[in-house]
């Protein structure tokens, strides 16, 4: 497990959960100030060769458009390597933002790690 303190109160914690899938748990409030740090944490994983990623937003209290932009950027990068990103999220407000922006059609949104892993495997 690799926990990376990323500034303010955001954190990216990653671990391998299957031979080709990694889980990245994000925590904190992701906004214009903290999203560059989240981007750094996720980019580091992709540069290590992780192209199938489950990103958990269960520890995220707030996300704005800059945070969504980071997730979209990450998805573009993994798709270049035929990878994909699944999102674990149960927060109604965050799910609403994914729905309004149409991102529910681009990302798979799952209720837990097992459901996401089943879909990605």
């Amino acid at each position: 497990m690799d926990a990376k303190e990323t500034g303010a109160d955001v954190k990216v914690t990653s671990r391998q959960i299957s031979p080709n899938v990694w889980m990245a748990e994000l925590t904190g409030e992701i906004d214009v100030y903290t999203s560059p740090k989240i981007k750094e944490g996720i980019t580091e994983l992709i540069e290590k060769g992780v192209y199938n990623l489950i990103i958990s937003l269960e520890g995220v209290r707030y996300i704005d458009s800059t945070g969504l932009g980071v997730l979209i950027g990450a998805l573009k990068k993994v798709r270049e390597h035929n990878g994909t990103i699944g999102i674990v999220c149960n927060n109604p407000q965050i799910k609403k933002i994914f729905s309004i922006t149409g991102l529910v059609k681009i990302f798979g949104i799952y209720k837990d790690e097992q459901e996401a892993l089943k879909s990605l495997a």
Binding site: D31, V32, Y33, S65, I97
Partner: protein, 133 residues
């Protein structure tokens, strides 16, 4: 702001720096929580929309100060965010799209060479009264 009449004005001026947006979120959230007729969802919408507007102001504002004015009236909560940036309007911006989706009335006034003002409002729904108590 008077909690008795639930009307009033709040003014904030922040440096045009990303680290100040969380402070605005906290303030708006605190203010909105005192308005009985807003649901939890309304408060979350307001918080996100104001923060998006501040982020936009910071990104366009060349580090200049940002002014935020929040007005609570009988029927709505209105917030204006003024920056001193380039005044360029980007309608395809995801932040603007979110603001327009979450708030009821949104207008952007460009002040030639002097930045822009983003005005938004959320209606107070009297049916929500006491739902949060």
């Amino acid at each position: 702001m008077s909690s008795e009449s639930e009307q009033g004005r709040l003014f904030l001026r922040i440096p045009g720096k990303p680290e100040y947006v969380s402070l605005v979120r906290l303030t708006i959230s605190g203010l909105a929580s005192r308005v009985n007729d807003l649901s939890y969802e309304d408060i979350e919408d307001l918080k996100l929309a104001v923060a998006e507007a501040c982020s936009r102001a910071i990104l366009h504002g060349n580090g200049e100060e940002i002014s935020i004015e929040c007005q609570v009236s009988d029927h709505s909560v209105t917030v204006s965010i003024q920056d001193q940036g380039t005044g360029e309007e980007e309608e395809d911006d995801m932040g603007i799209f979110l603001i327009r989706s979450l708030m009821e009335e949104v207008t952007i006034k460009t002040l030639a060479g002097k930045g822009s003002i983003l005005l938004m409002s959320k209606k107070r729904n009297h049916e929500h009264r006491n739902q949060r108590s």
